[in-house]
Symmetry: C2
Subunit: 269 residues, 2 copies
Amino acid sequence: MEPRHLEIAHDLMEGIDEGRYAPGAPLPTEDQLMSFYSTSRNTIRRALQELSNRGRIDTKQGSGSTVRQYRPTTHLASPVEGEADDERYTRYVERMKEEQGVEPTQKLRVIVEAATGTLAALLHLDPSETEGFVVIRRCDRYVGPRLWQRQLSYYPDHIAMGSSEGAQLMQPEDIPQGTRTLLAKMGYPQTKSWDVVGARMPSLKDSTLFGLGPGIPLLVHERMAYSGDTPIRFTKTFMPADRHQLLYADGEMTADALQMATDVNIYDH
Amino acid sequence: MEPRHLEIAHDLMEGIDEGRYAPGAPLPTEDQLMSFYSTSRNTIRRALQELSNRGRIDTKQGSGSTVRQYRPTTHLASPVEGEADDERYTRYVERMKEEQGVEPTQKLRVIVEAATGTLAALLHLDPSETEGFVVIRRCDRYVGPRLWQRQLSYYPDHIAMGSSEGAQLMQPEDIPQGTRTLLAKMGYPQTKSWDVVGARMPSLKDSTLFGLGPGIPLLVHERMAYSGDTPIRFTKTFMPADRHQLLYADGEMTADALQMATDVNIYDH
DNA sequence: TGGTGGGAATTGTAGGAATGAATCTCATGA
DNA sequence: TCATGAGATTCATTCCTACAATTCCCACCA
């Protein structure tokens, strides 16, 4: 037999799915649910938490619970011939201004670390050598006061520290021409890459960092870029999954696809 | 000031991150934590639930809590020239047999529905016409007794019901040559496509369906495929995010990339 | 040696209660 | 008309208790 709190959770979830509780609409209060299901507050709260953990409701102290609605922004993720990854940011800023009505900002930070484990292997660095360092450029992108995405780019030392141009990578400042162009100028044009996409729940720190409510996964996007057979950059991007979807499309159809993909919502149940 | 249960959760999370509790190792019991933090069982349970909701621990009645470990399988997601999507399944079966030691099976089901909303628009079907139907092929893939992924393919009626070959799509049976080859034979070779990737928490039903524990998101992969400008198929794939990662790579390097990508784990904190 | 069963350990479910904190409502007053 | 503030409403935190269900350990017996 199913526990009472799951029964109630199922019941409420059904109510949401069938539209009896519309997106944005309030659920009954805990007191009302208590008397309706004639059970204790504890049991009701467990049922509500079940919905909350699945990202179906927002609960606010003093006010109540409302049905959550999702409007993820679709990002172009596929590597585009001739376009720097960074140029995308311009487009992205435009979209954000339109959709959210807020001006995005970004904060950069550069860290240098010894390369270890998988990362060293990916960048073809030997961790046993004293030379095995990575330059990490961390870019936090905000929309209004909220952290929208965090991007970590890892460059092998011989690239970032091997030339005067490479030194730009060590500066915690925006690179106007784009890092891809910069790398190309340095003799490392990006010729191929591969991506891994996955998702996981945020840690407590992630939640505070991104200001995430319960039941919202983190989308993780990783890209390994090469110039010929030389690894030039490994990038790791973290995005709250309620606000981000990734788009992969052929070059010719990206514009169309982006248009259509905005209507495709993974939250349709 | 931070609530007590979050303090404790932070503390335990730190213990996991720093390796004081190794993957697979047991956490202290509720009783032990109660006396250690000198607080009530309720508070301890809330702290543990916090970790559980974030997918960091597995809790089993009668036994205790252990630190969870993730070993996602990396899938090739990028559309490959000349290879049917279905051929991948063969490779996938091979991998599963190796990695998990279990034989995968699949169950097919075909449903016909009236096309509405976004789906109708994507497939260029007019929902006002009585003709606007979609043929849905649902493929549930199991590894052992567990549902590993669920794939829904939507075909516009004029393709699935327009020819004798198309009729194969209406049969709830495996199509040995692959649907992509079949569509090509019918005069619809797949020439381009776009993908959307996102993640969300599972509903209660999703959880039962996939046998998902708490804190595991669902990875959702959608693909719209065209033959010229004719939409021929829309595919929606659901996968538990703890067992799946998607790989996008250029044709020439897929093999290498797949090899390396298995070492890239999004769960590194 | 190997299986079995009982009891201990451990988490799951359910109820009750009190207090605190945030929000909302609405009457009051400038 | 609009701002203020008191009180009611609502969720958050924390304690307590009892019993059920599952797992585990180990002594016992065949």
